[in-house]
């Protein structure tokens, strides 16, 4: 019953999305405000209807309606309620519906919020977002429909892929999609600016918060994916440079570039075309990411379904979007020329931002090259090549180290002009500290050049940022003579965006420290143990006490009981090998003990002989720093986002 409601709502939404596109664009071109208003009402209705459609699908899951093919394929009677509801995006068809639902809600919010402030952009905004929705709805309704029925209905479903029965995987796709879809609004505004032939500072202000929000969501989504990989896949790592991971990483890189270079446009009104290019590229890469994953062109850990009809539609849709967007950019960009940018000196924040952009673009291009190269080789030369993690680690790390070095400088270099003397004063201490830092790193036994340079750069960035904060506080204390916490508070509250950026950078530093620690110091052991055996791993002594069984909802497992002792600390680890109902592939559930310093990570392997089991034990230093770093980044973005309203009030907008 619910599924019909949902299906009907989705069909109606499709008609209204067409209306929204037509009425919006025509209303704009023919200067008929009434038509544009029709487009607005349509946009609000589409959001409502797609909400109904998505809830209809979720309700079908909750009611175990196995007459719906999608439900039968991704759920079972035994599946816990939480996973029942979230199984809506556990497969290909539902994820696409989720995507377009988010897009509809975002469009509605954008139309509603910017209706009075951006009347000129509105027709194009309605038209473009409507067109993207039409494309996705075509896919959802006619090519990969989650509303399809199954007769006769089976008594029980095939259950959700065991790998997806984990909180990390439940929240990873929605956040990722909030990020992808969040870029659609700035993209539509950028296109509107091009099509109208005006682009100034004002759309930038509205867009920065959208972009920040989308960027924060995308970051969260990527980190959740890494977290899930670490906790569920049981290979001791969190990032495999899988094509699917790369697909989400590319828009992140270009969006990061945009967030930085847009400041230059705001402050100095330069690089308008470049910023438009960046935001259009970011949204295009979001689409590319969605499609690479969803068209089954990549066969990777995440690939679900593979259907040539779908793939062809997706490629055509992708080509239309790309050709249209970049075509408009190429043909209309000269209308926006704000004259040649002029730099007072080569040494200034503006050029630091440019170099930042260059590094991020090179990084994105590198990932793109490594991701598409095997596809290209297979298509063109018919040879199969693997471009795996070792390649990416080798070529990507130097680029990222360069970015890190820039990060240490960019924040503190002044706008417009910087004298060599001032720079010398600014970087004297940080540079000295960065050099000094090499000594303890060497003594600890790091010999890998990346490790040494990386650690040294982390110290450098930390020092410049700390110094910047300190100087800000010191200068104001000189003036007001109040206690430093008060001064610090005022400093941050007066300039949320700057200090939000500073906090975000600190989060990135924490993550980088985590990457260095876990990337270069990971220890691993493979060995066979019988109950009673003891092994040592770093400071830990592990005793294989016994082997037991465990069972829950829809799985049964062999569970090893491992006693871990470190000095006076003692704990029990329970790594499992689970067999889910209706799946023959056993799943390893690693037992992980996390501290701020290191993770002890135990994976149960196969039974080798009677009573002897294979174990794989990892010691992963500083992994926790990655997750905490992500939280600090979220804090920083939150702080930065507070400022938008005040800026606009100031400007009387």
């Amino acid at each position: 019953m619910w599924i019909e409601v949902g299906h009907f709502a989705a069909l109606t939404a499709f008609v209204l999305a067409l209306t929204q596109t037509g009425a919006g664009v025509l209303g704009g071109i023919l200067a008929r405000p009434a038509w544009v208003r029709v487009g607005r009402q349509a946009a609000l209705m589409v959001a409502l209807l797609l909400t109904v459609a998505s809830l209809g699908l979720i309700m079908s899951f909750l009611q175990h309606d196995f007459s719906v093919r999608y439900v039968a394929e991704h759920a079972s009677l035994k599946l816990p309620v939480f996973y029942l509801a979230t199984a809506m995006w556990g497969g290909h068809e539902g994820s696409l519906l989720l995507w377009v639902w988010f897009l509809a809600v975002f469009s509605a919010v954008a139309v509603w919020r910017h209706w009075s402030t951006h009347p000129l952009s509105m027709p194009w905004l309605l038209g473009l977002l409507g067109a993207v929705m039409v494309g996705f709805l075509l896919l959802v309704l006619f090519l990969s429909s989650p509303f399809e029925r199954l007769f006769p209905a089976p008594a029980d479903g095939r259950d959700l892929n065991p790998m997806l029965q984990d909180p990390g995987m439940v929240f990873h796709p929605p956040f990722l999609y909030l990020g992808y879809v969040g870029f659609s609004v700035p993209y539509a505004f950028a296109m509107a600016a091009l099509l109208n032939g005006r682009s100034g500072t004002e759309w930038i202000l509205a867009m920065r918060r959208w972009t920040l929000f989308a960027w924060a969501m995308l970051t969260t989504g990527i980190v959740l994916g890494a977290y899930w990989a670490y906790y569920v896949l049981g290979w001791g790592g969190y990032w495999a440079w899988d094509p699917v991971e790369n697909a989400s990483f590319m828009p992140w890189l270009t969006a990061t570039a945009f967030l930085h270079s847009v400041m230059v446009q705001e402050r100095r009104d330069m690089f308008r075309t470049w910023n438009l290019f960046l935001i259009i590229t970011t949204f295009s890469l979001s689409l590319l990411g969605t499609f690479l994953v969803r068209s089954g062109v990549l066969s990777s850990v995440h690939a679900f379904a593979n259907d040539p009809g779908r793939g062809v539609f997706i490629l055509i849709f992708m080509a239309v979007v790309l050709l249209f967007s970049f075509g408009v950019l190429v043909f209309r960009a000269d209308h926006l020329r704000s004259g040649t940018p002029r730099l007072d000196t080569i040494l200034c924040k503006e050029s630091a931002f440019l170099f930042n952009n260059m590094f991020f673009m090179v990084a994105a291009l590198t990932v793109l090259l490594g991701t598409l190269y095997p596809l290209a080789m297979e298509t063109l030369a018919g040879t199969k090549v693997t471009v795996g993690a070792p390649y990416f680690n080798k070529v990507f790390v130097p680029i990222m180290l360069g970015t890190l070095a820039l990060m240490g400088m960019g924040l503190v270099i002044p706008w417009r002009r910087a004298t060599a003397a001032a720079l010398g004063r600014m970087f004297r201490w940080p540079l000295l500290l960065a050099l000094l830092a090499i000594l303890p790193v060497w003594l600890v036994g790091v010999r890998h050049p990346y490790g040494i340079i990386g650690a040294s750069l982390v110290v450098f960035v930390l020092a410049t940022h700390t110094q910047d904060l300190y100087r800000g506080v010191a200068a104001r204390r000189q003036r007001d003579g109040r206690a430093w916490p008060t001064v610090l508070w005022h400093l941050v509250i007066r300039n949320q965006r700057r200090y939000g950026g500073l906090v975000t950078h600190l989060g990135v530093l924490l993550m980088v420290a985590g990457f260095i620690g876990s990337g270069l110091f990971q220890q691993e052991r493979d060995l066979v143990m019988r109950p009673g055996d003891v092994m040592h791993m770093g400071p830990w002594q592990l005793t294989f006490a016994s082997m037991g069984r465990a069972a829950r909802h829809n799985w049964q497992a062999n569970e090893a009981v491992i006693q871990a002792d470190k000095g006076r600390e003692s704990l029990t680890l329970l790594p499992q090998k689970r067999i889910y109902d209706g799946s023959s592939q056993p799943m390893s559930e690693a037992a992980i003990h996390s501290t701020w310093r290191e993770d002890l990570y135990v994976v149960l392997g196969d039974q080798v002989a009677d009573g002897a089991w294979a174990f794989r034990v990892y010691l992963n230093p500083l992994v926790m720093w990655i997750w905490w770093g992500a939280c600090v980044i979220a804090l920083g973005v939150g702080l930065s986002m507070l400022q938008g309203r005040r800026l606009r009030r100031k400007q009387g907008a």
Partner: protein
């Protein structure tokens, strides 16, 4: 509250990162005893560089598939029999071709992969260098840029863009405030120093 001289305080503040780093790298030193088979490290090293032929982008070492487990057994056997890693890798290469290596070889068209990123970096750097110099010269020759009225004004009041006006002070208010404050802080700092 007594104020110490800023220079000294700067040094104190900057000690924090150093202390943090010392803690960060006080990582546990390798414990001496190992109970795993001494061959196992070699096996792991080889298995991490080969892909499981039927999985999606996983190394033989990480994969749980039966084929990967069999491959791992073969690797283990060959290492026990005294084969070095080059020989073992070659053995799989003979059967599967380049596809089996997770890291692409540095020959033929794969050079695109290895040279690409550094060419991007070089090209980007050169382009940017040229552009920066040009813009800097533009500043010296002092052309007046073609500005436009911000769309905030034009969209709201319906006026069309004016040529020649610098972009309005209207929307730069936030910026100039920050600028002024920045300069003030700079000035005060110079006095302090």
């Amino acid at each position: 509250m007594k104020r110490s001289s800023p220079g000294c305080a700067v040094r104190k503040i900057l000690l924090f990162p150093l202390v943090a780093l010392a803690i960060l790298f006080a990582l546990p030193v390798l414990a001496g005893e190992r109970q795993e088979d001494p061959d196992e490290a070699t096996v792991r090293d080889i298995a991490q560089g080969l892909r499981c032929a039927v999985c999606q982008n996983q190394s033989v070492y990480e994969s749980n598939s039966d084929l990967a487990k069999d491959m791992l057994k073969v690797i283990r056997q060959k290492v026990r029999d005294g084969g070095d890693s080059a020989e073992v890798r070659q053995y799989f290469h003979d059967r599967y071709g380049d596809y089996i290596y997770l890291e692409p070889t540095r020959q033929g068209s794969n050079l695109i992969l290895w040279a690409g990123p550094f060419l991007f970096l070089l090209g980007g750097g050169v382009l940017l260098g040229v552009a920066l110099r040009r813009w800097h010269r533009a500043r010296l020759s002092g052309q007046s840029p073609v500005g436009s009225v911000s769309p905030a004004l034009s969209e709201k009041s319906g006026t069309t863009a004016k040529k020649g006006g610098r972009d309005g002070a209207v929307q730069h208010k936030g910026g100039t405030d920050a600028d002024d404050r920045q300069q003030r802080i700079q000035r005060e700092l110079e006095q302090v120093d």
